[in-house]
């Protein structure tokens, strides 16, 4: 087995700037997305994920220009998400240079979008992003619920069942964020990652809560994730992508060095 586990820095963007919030609020500025993407690529990032966090409200053209800018200079896969509502949004972003499109709220509101998008563009470019929050913790029967609109709206959907349904609809990959951990630097919700990874056969990207290199390794070794996504530990220079890879390799994880 030689497929490498992936390290994916995530750029949360607000009107053309990279920002990072804590538990989806309290936002800090981290810089220019094109420059940051180039730096991560040179440092050995395996992919870049670009999430337009204000896309539901703001003008889309800034995002399209930024995606074009990144895709013209960064020759690794680029996932774009945030405010994707229709097949036309997906087509525009693919034409701007995105390789994969992350769909979150719109998948809940209209699961058929995932089905039609994967038929039209191929499952390989349809990532379903889910924001899950633990809602029950009575011993063995852990439960997680899906939230939408950047984590503001509960849906009543069970996270594991929802992910299975999304894979049946054609999702080629799952970007799994635990809202309880996002921005907290306490580590991934490993039980959630593991349950989801075992429930479906598509790759899982673990997200939400990375504060140390150990957390990244745990996501793969215990959470059984195929890729790990992080933002703030890379943006604010606490660790480099290269350090993360060397550490993961030292834990016996296959990485691209």
């Amino acid at each position: 087995m030689t497929l490498a586990k992936r390290i994916i820095p995530c750029l949360d963007c607000d009107r053309g700037r990279v920002v990072k919030g804590v538990k989806f609020v309290d936002i800090r500025d981290a810089g220019d997305p094109i420059e940051i993407a180039k730096n991560y690529c040179e440092a050995g990032a395996d992919e870049i994920t670009f999430l337009d966090i204000t896309a539901s409200y703001e003008d889309r053209n800034t995002t399209i220009e930024t995606v074009q800018g990144i895709a013209g200079q960064v020759f690794i896969p680029l996932t774009v998400g945030g405010g994707i509502r229709a097949l036309e949004d997906i087509r525009i972003m693919l034409n701007a240079g995105a390789d994969k499109i992350a769909i979150n709220t719109a998948a809940v509101e209209n699961p058929d979008l995932v089905r039609r998008a994967s038929e039209r563009f191929g499952s390989q470019c349809i990532v379903v992003a889910v924001d899950a929050k633990q809602v029950a913790s009575d011993g063995k029967n852990l439960k997680w619920e899906i939230f939408t609109h950047g984590g503001r709206n509960p849906t009543g959907l069970d996270a594991i069942e929802w992910v299975k349904h999304m894979v049946e609809c054609g999702a080629g990959e799952i970007l799994l964020t635990s809202m309880d951990r996002d921005g907290t630097k306490q580590g991934f919700d490993l039980m959630l990652k593991k349950k989801v990874s075992q429930a479906v056969q598509v790759p899982i990207i673990a997200s939400g809560g990375v504060g140390t290199l150990e957390h990244l390794a745990e996501g793969v070794l215990e959470g059984e994730a195929d890729a790990v996504l992080a933002a703030s530990i890379f943006h604010f220079g606490e660790y480099s992508i290269e350090e993360a890879k060397i550490y993961m390799a030292s834990r016996g994880i296959e990485v691209r060095l």
Binding site: A4, A71, E119, F121, S123, Q124, P203
Partner: protein
């Protein structure tokens, strides 16, 4: 002027391929021109051709036939270097299992199979499908496109179906993913990759640069 036509039949993002070609040839400033097109005359005027492909094979083949791309590719592979990428590689084969079975172009003898859901990785876990991410490519048989590409380099893959070729001599790269899969093959002046060189950073750009210099012969 080295003109590279990227065949555009409406299936997915060609921006990355044309940008990566131009970037890989940037040291030859002004001499490389890459353009996406489905126009027969423009493709005929190109020095080399890239045949990309993403998405489902049935839709790809339907568009290839509707736009008469099959004839254009058939002509191109007689005359000039052709690089087929991902579903472009699969389309060159005779038949694919995808979409309940689809007849493909049949320029290379062999089939396209789905990854077996029960294939295991070295840790005894079922493989994830699609095969998505950076995997090693073992170079088999020498080829000019491997110049300055280290053996066992990692390239970026994303696919759920893989190629089986009848003639082992045509295989130029193999990759392990639950089974031995063919990641590259060559047939005269065609070179085909299951992975995406345009998404494989330095090693991918090196392979693309080699393609820009390739005369279509197999010798190194």
């Amino acid at each position: 002027m080295n003109k590279v036509a990227v065949i555009d039949y409406g299936m997915g993002n060609l921006h990355s391929v044309t940008k990566a070609i131009e970037y890989s040839g940037r040291e030859k400033k002004g001499k490389i021109k890459a353009f996406a097109t489905c126009d027969k005359k423009l493709i005929e005027s190109a020095d080399r051709v890239i045949f990309p492909g993403v998405g489902a094979i049935r839709d790809c083949m339907a568009e290839i036939k509707r736009l008469n791309i099959d004839k254009i590719i058939e002509d191109a592979i007689k005359l000039k270097p052709v690089l087929a990428i991902c579903v472009g590689m699969q389309a060159l084969m005779e038949f694919s299992e995808e979409n309940d079975g689809v007849e493909c172009l049949g320029f290379v003898k062999g089939q396209v199979k789905h990854f077996d859901k029960n294939f295991m990785d070295s840790n005894g876990r079922r493989i994830k499908i699609p095969h998505m991410g950076w995997n090693k490519v073992k170079q088999v048989n020498s080829h000019p496109l491997w110049k300055e590409v280290p053996d066992n380099s990692r390239f970026y893959f994303v696919h759920s179906y893989y190629v089986q070729a009848e003639n082992e001599m045509k295989i130029t790269g193999i990759t392990d993913y639950g089974a031995r899969i063919i990641s590259c093959l060559t047939d005269d002046n065609v070179f085909a990759t299951q992975f995406h060189p345009e998404k494989s950073q330095e090693v991918g750009l090196t392979l693309l640069r080699n393609f820009l210099e390739w005369d279509g012969e197999r010798r190194c």
